[in-house]
Structures are given as C-alpha cells and as structure tokens.
C-alpha cells in the first residue's frame, strides 16, 4: 500500500457534539505514535449548536500550518458536508453518519462512506458516542494501530467512571471493526511515526508555562476568548509555588493589580484580547510612567469592538504600539510558533525587569488556540534576569536626606530600583511627571530629562536588546521577499517552499519583535528584494504601514530606493492557506515581469 508522509483529517458537526474532543484524541494518538500534528479548530461564539469543525494535519515531519485540503472528512451532520466539501481532494473520503442520510455533491472528487455511527454508538450504550465510533473508523482509514487509540480513549473517559470508559472503548472498537468489515480498503496509509512522544500544545499553554518557568507568581486577568486558558492554566500551577491568581472584576482591575504586584517586585502577568487591550490603555501608560515591569499578553481576535471573538485576526498591532495617550517607548514581542511563545514569554519578564516597563506578547487566535507539535521545551534556556535591582547596602549608600533617587537620570535611561520592604529605599512611583526622587514635578527641564530618560532606555533596535528581530529563511538576495508576523509563520513558510520548488528566489522574513521594529535588518533585506509582500491578517495592512514607514526612512537615508510594499490582507476570520500566499506571490511577480 502507498505510504503518505502527510495527510489531513477533519471532523465536523454541531458545537457540543464532541467535535473538539475527537480532534484532541486523534492529536494525542498521533503524537504518541511519533507524528507531527497541526490542529485547527473552527468554532463560533456560542456554546451549543452551530457548525464547528476540527482539522488535523498529520505528518512525519513538522507541520506548521493548516491547509485547504482534506483527505478524510468525518461528518456528523449534513451541514459538515455542505460547508466543507470544497476542501475534498481527489482520492479523499467522507465518513458520514448513515443516520442523516448524507448527500455529497455530484461533482465531488471524494468518495462517500456512509457509516452507521449513531446506530453503533446506540448499540454500545448511547448515541452521544458517535464521535468515538468515528474515531475507530478514522484509525482504520489512516492505517494507525487501534491500541494507541484505546489508551487515549480510556484515559479520557475512564476518569469519569469505569463504565463510561468501557462503553467508549467499545464504541471505538466497533467503529474500527465496522470499517474493516464494510469499507473499501484504503488506497494509502500513513508512513509510520518515529515513536517519539513530543508535546502537543497550543500557544496559550506555552505562554502559561513560560510564565511559570520565568518566576511569574502573580496573575490577574478577566476571562475572554481566546485568552482565558492562560489564566486558567496558571490557576492550576502557581498556587503550588506560592503564587496567586486572581480573576479580576474587569481588565482595568487586572492590569492595575499587576502593576501593584510589579511594584512590589513580583513578576506579574495579565492576558487578554482586543477589548481588554483597549480597556487597559490608560494603565499601560501608568506602568510606563511609574516604570513598573509587567507582562501583557494579547491574543488577537477579530475586531474592532466585540468583532468576531472566536475568529483569528492580527488587527491589534497599531493599538499595541500607539494605544495609550502620551509618549511611551514600546516593547512588543511576536512569537510565531508555540515553542517561541514559551521562550518569548519567559524572555518578556526579563525585558520588563531590565527596561522597567510593560512588555507585550502579541499572540493571535491561531497561535493561542491551535495545537501544534513541539519537539521539546528546554527549561535550562530560561534564565531569570531581574534587571538592575539594588541590595540593602547599595540603597543605604545611595539614599540622601531628600530620599532615594528612584528615577535617577542615567546614561542608559535605566534607573536602579529598590523594592518595597527594603530600608531607606522609600520613594513615590507616580503616573504624574516626577523628578528623580519620584516627587511630582512640572518643571520644564525636569520634564524633558525624565521623558528623554524613559524614551532612551528602550533601544531602537531589538539587536541591542539581544533579541532576534527577524527570523529569515531564504537566499541572500531574494527577488521576492515575504514578510509576516505571528501565526502566519507556518503558512508563509509553506508557501515559500512551494515557490522555491517552482524556481522562485524567495525569502521569508518573519517579524519576531514588533517593537522596537528591526528596521535595519528589514532594510538590508528589502534593499535587495525586487518585490515585497507583507502578508497579514487585518484589513488595513497594519504591519505593512509600519515597515513602509521605518524602512522607507532607513533606505532613503542610505540613498537606496524602497521597493513597493505589496499588501496581502486576509481578514475574513480564517488563517492564511499556503496556497493563497503562493498564488498571490505568483501574481505579484508575474505582474512585475510584465510591468
């Protein structure tokens, strides 16, 4: 039988019908067998009902994006077929519950396999187990060992009661048996996995773990999709280490509590999405002005306002950079994979402590919620750097009769910091303009000195902060440069491979630090490139505008010409497919050749 190294499986049905848990179980099985997976859930802002689906790409090598193809579609209802059949490719199959008398469009390249999922489930106990039956069928079709599934099903349902576990086990086995007996033999099977149990996580898990690993012991947040899991996970971890997690009454309270905790020297985090970011804007300015370190996670979703709470988007970039009133320097990290979300979060705490200001992690819904295989996370790479804190002796030496100069104007702009509880370090941290002692001051000279100090302390280039500003793959002087941020890494990388295979000299520069923007590195790359495409998930080209500005100025200063920045914008709530990006790239380059 033909072996495939990559396939794509999808299940769909009504929200509340176990769509999610079926996908989760398959993901775990695959992981345990040593495959790489990428999961993509589509769901809506309601609890039960409404179409929902879960696609899992499974491969023997890392999979970094979703795709538009489906090889196996499990349909719990007709709506699943209606909404997803366009993804079916030649040779694909639809496993549909016979119960609803499934119909496949005539011109579909797929083959319909009608399976009495509900009936089998009913026979072993209850129709709700139809999804587990479908998992048995899927095991057969994918050519994966049933035992691996048994283990996972038992783990999941055995917890509730032995009986429930056994029933689900039966459902699984009956599904497998039915498929083996009644379905045509599959034309392919997955090449065997390498048997290594890697990690299957979503970005929110990685952020929570990164925080815990970095010594964060305080979290205050307010529930919101798609950020809630960060608080929930920390709620289960931090108490073991003397940490505290508070579900605040709103986002303003959440971030202000973090400022209180940060002032006290604890590492504090809050996580939210667009509406929360907008509400936090005033307090973000407070953290800048008082120079209190905190970490803020924004899991971007469809905006503006309530927007599309369960849909992916990257449209808070401007708000994160320019959102609070007044002049503040920003640090915004942009992890592009689950793995990076872990290290970036840990790093964010170091940066916050070092530069004494809020640090933002710009995540997005796809990164936050889509499960990805991670090879491993290395705790030893997480080093805690508290920045310039003073010990009691240093404070005693520095303290003057007028008090301690908390906001001493230094060359670097960073002023050494005492913490409450340390003798003689008492000072006033205020959101009002203040002098070196922290006392409120409206003196014009002092104002300029303090403003300059605050603006100066954050370097203008991520390289000066020891950060990788750009993750670049491609030749030295690409004719075409693809630029993206956040979770678009996977699809852009896949598109790059596609294009490369077609002979294009294409590079992919992924922006890993949004602020300070690595404009020099970008300028180096763009100076060489003939065409530049910025692919991002928002309607206004927020990243493109920033690049256009900063790189434009840098290139003009070098006397170089700025290539046109072509915008590839997708803002319909779904992530990019690699094929879409590749198609756009071909068009842009052909236009270039024609033009």
């Amino acid at each position: 039988m033909r072996e495939r190294r990559l396939t794509s499986w999808k299940i769909g049905g009504e929200q509340g019908q176990g769509i999610d848990s079926t996908g989760e179980m398959l993901a775990i099985v695959c992981n345990r067998l040593g495959y790489y997976i990428y999961g993509y859930r589509q769901f809506s802002s309601r609890i039960k009902g409404g179409h929902s689906n879960y696609k899992i790409r499974i491969g023997t090598e890392p999979v970094a994006s979703t795709c538009s193809d489906v090889d196996i579609l499990v349909a719990i209802d007709q709506e699943t077929i209606d909404r997803n059949h366009h993804e079916l490719v030649p040779g694909s199959v639809v496993v549909a519950d016979a119960h609803f008398e499934p119909v496949l469009p005539e011109d579909s390249p797929a083959r319909l396999l009608s399976v009495p999922l509900t009936r089998i489930a009913q026979d072993v106990g209850s129709p709700v187990m139809r999804n587990v039956v479908s998992l048995g069928v899927s095991a057969y079709l994918l050519g994966l060992p049933l035992d691996a599934f048994k283990e996972v099903v038992l783990e999941k349902f055995g917890r509730k009661s032995r009986e429930v576990g056994q029933q689900n086990l039966a459902a699984l086995e009956q599904g497998y048996a039915h498929a083996k007996e009644h379905l045509p033999a599959p034309s392919w099977r997955l090449a065997p996995g390498d048997g290594k149990r890697r990690l299957v996580m979503m970005g929110n898990d990685a952020v929570a773990l990164g925080a815990a690993a970095a010594g964060c012991r305080f979290c205050a947040a307010y529930p919101i999709t798609p950020a809630s899991e960060i608080m929930e996970t920390l709620m289960s971890i931090l108490p073991r280490y003397g940490g505290v997690v508070v579900q605040a009454e709103d986002e303003i309270s959440a971030i202000t509590s973090c400022i209180g905790a940060g002032f006290a020297g604890a590492r504090a985090i809050t996580a939210t999405a667009g509406p929360g970011i907008s509400l936090m804007q005033e307090a973000i300015g407070l953290a800048h002005m008082t120079e209190v370190p905190i970490v803020i996670v924004d899991t971007q979703r469809g905006g503006p306002s309530t927007g599309m709470p369960t849909k992916h988007e990257q449209s808070d970039l401007w708000a994160l950079l320019f959102g609070t009133h007044g002049d503040t320097p920003r640090i915004v990290l942009a992890p592009s994979t689950v793995e990076e979300a872990f290290y970036d979060t840990a790093q964010a705490f170091n940066l916050a402590d070092r530069y004494q200001c809020p640090v933002v992690i710009a995540s997005d819904l796809s990164l936050a919620l889509n499960k990805q295989t991670v090879d491993g996370l290395d705790l030893s790479r997480v080093q805690i750097d508290r920045g310039h804190l003073l010990n009691d002796d240093e404070i005693a030496q520095a303290a003057e009769s007028a008090g301690f100069r908390r906001y001493r104007v230094t060359e670097s702009g960073i002023s050494p910091r005492p913490l409450p509880g340390q003798p003689q370090g008492q000072y006033l941290a205020t959101g009002s303009e203040h002098n070196e002692f922290g006392k409120v001051s409206e003196d014009p000279k002092n104002r300029v000195a303090q403003m300059d100090k605050r603006l100066r302390k954050v370097p203008s280039d991520p390289a000066q902060m020891g950060l990788t500003g750009i993750k670049y793959t491609g030749p030295e002087a690409p004719e075409l440069l693809l630029i993206g941020i956040g979770s678009t890494y996977g699809p852009i990388d896949d598109a790059r491979r596609l294009l490369e295979a077609e002979g294009y000299r294409v590079g992919h520069a992924h922006v890993r630090v949004l602020a300070p923007l690595p404009f020099k590195e970008l300028a180096d790359l763009m100076e060489q490139a003939q065409r530049v495409i910025v692919a991002e998930n928002n309607a206004q080209g927020q990243l493109a505008a920033l690049i256009e500005h900063r790189v434009g100025v840098a290139l003009r200063e070098r006397g170089a010409t700025m290539p046109e920045v072509h915008r590839l914008l997708k803002y319909d709530g779904t992530p990019f497919l690699p094929a879409e990006i590749a198609a756009d790239a071909r068009e842009v380059t052909s236009y270039a050749q024609a033009g």
Partner: protein, 287 residues
C-alpha cells in the same frame, strides 16, 4: 521604634491651607507610629485627586496610580508582598464614582488592606464639580441648579457588599481618626475608613462647623454595638450616615487565608526556580 518624623517628607504641601486632608495625613502618620511599623514596611497606594496627593507627604513606599484604581493596585501589591502594611487612599470621586466597581469587589474579596477615603463630597482637584457623595440640591459647577442625583452612601454600601470592617472618621479629630485607622490596619481583611475631610475651597456646604454639628460619635455611645450588622445598618439609615467612630466589624477569613497554597513570605523573597522535575511533570499532560 519609628517616630512621627520618620513618616514625614520634606515636600511642601500642595493642599490649600485648612484642607481637611492635613488631618487625615497626620492621623495616618500617627497610626503607623502607634503600630510601630517602619516606613519601609508600609506601602501606600493613592488615587488621583487632592486627596490622592497624600502619598507626596508621607515617607514610605508610595504608588500613585491613575484615577479610581487605587484598590486593584493595592490588592496586587499586598498579595505580592504579604509582609507590608498596605494602605489605599483617595477621594470620594476616585473611590465611589470611577472606582465604584473596584470598591465593591475589594470589599467582597476581603484582601488585608486598609482603605482611607477622604470624603469632601466634592471634586476638589478639578475645581468643584459634584461628587457621588454630594448632597441632593447642592449647587456646584456641574449642578448649577442643584444636584438631582441621590448621593452614594458608602458605609451602607460597604456593609451591604459584605464588608468586615467599616469606620467613619472626621479629619478634625485626629486622635479618634488615627485610632480608627490603626484598628483598620490591625483588622485582618479589608477595612474601610471613610473620613469626612472638608474641602474649604469648593464645598461651602459641608464645612467643619457643619460636620461638627451633625456628626454623632458612635464611640461615645454605650448602647451601640459595632458587631451587630442590623444595628449598624439601622443607625446609618437613621442618621443618614452622619456618624463617626467604628461602625461595624466582623471576623471573617481574609482572601489570603482562603487562597490555596498561600505562603506568608513575600513573592520577591521566594525561590522562583521551577524544579526541572516539576517542569517535566507539567509537560506530561501535553504528551
């Protein structure tokens, strides 16, 4: 032992001569001295308003936040460093207008902080608009024909929201006020000390003389039992909150006492490294 001078700063006061807030500052400083805490073990979180400037004049760790947010900041501070004496302070507008939501939630969460509200029944710093505690009919810059809203009753509200310590002070009686503040600090859980603190510049209605006349002193009333919730509510309704003294107290576990795994050492003093074994263990659920 710390002395009064230890809690003073060399900062010239920005308050108007005669402002009630001077009395509040003095009372707070005295309370801290009486309790024997050191300046570096005190953290004061203040809001925005004339009242919010109190942090300029007291030598301790001070956090001066944005308007209305003193309580959440104080809560975060306290939960992060449990060995500090944490005070939150602000005005009636700060606490009961823009900060009303946080106030309610701070009360029911019962974190061990003491909240001093300098209630002058007016917006001082912004020059005389009505505040949520302004009397009905009071003419201000934003109620030129008299306030038509019914005032917030902070003491009743606190008790209705489940407060475990509620006191009412008058800034002229520094002795009583400092005692109430000290008791509030000693109380394990959230303590509200609402202080009638006259604004001599913009409130010509609720003056020192007016307060002196209308406030009855609960501490002098042998029949009053501050542990009786019903009696407290009744008295507050009867007197329209024109009282001073300890209004209500009850013993209930604080947030800290209930929080699972809570430790007494400040977070900053704890060991932050995550043991490798624990990390491996945490990762297990993702395999």
């Amino acid at each position: 032992m710390p002395k009064l001078a230890d809690f003073k700063t060399n900062e010239k006061s920005w308050w108007c001569p005669g402002c009630g807030d001077f009395g509040v500052l003095a009372a707070l400083q005295k309370a801290l001295v009486d309790l024997g805490v050191e300046p570096h073990n005190v953290a004061l979180v203040a809001g925005i308003g004339c009242s919010g400037k109190i942090g300029n004049y007291i030598n301790c760790y001070n956090l001066h936040v944005v308007h209305g947010r003193a309580l959440p900041a104080a809560m975060g501070l306290k939960l992060a460093n449990r060995s500090l004496t944490v005070i939150a302070a602000g005005g009636d507008g700060d606490g009961y207008a823009i900060g009303a939501g946080h106030f309610l939630h701070a009360v029911r969460r019962n974190v061990d902080i003491t909240y001093i509200v300098m209630d002058n029944q007016i917006y001082g710093l912004t020059k005389g608009q009505m505040s949520p505690t302004s009397h009905s009919g009071f003419k201000t810059r934003t109620s030129p024909e008299g306030n038509i809203e019914r005032p917030v009753r902070p003491l009743q509200l606190a008790i209705a929201a489940g407060a475990t310590f509620v006191a009412s002070g008058f800034s002229s009686d520094v002795k009583q006020l400092s005692r109430l503040i000290a008791e509030g600090i000693r109380h394990r859980g959230f303590a509200l000390v609402n202080v009638y603190s006259p604004c001599v510049t913009f409130n010509r209605l609720n003056t020192y003389d007016w307060y002196k006349e209308v406030l009855s002193n609960l501490d002098d009333d042998p029949t009053y039992d501050p542990t009786n919730r019903a009696m407290a509510l009744e008295r507050l309704i009867e007197t329209d909150e024109r009282v001073r003294g300890l209004v209500y107290r009850s013993d209930q576990p604080s947030f800290e006492q209930l929080f699972p795994g809570y430790r007494d050492e400040p977070i900053v003093g704890q060991d932050w490294t995550l043991p490798e074994e624990d990390f491996t263990q945490l990762l297990e659920q993702f395999r």
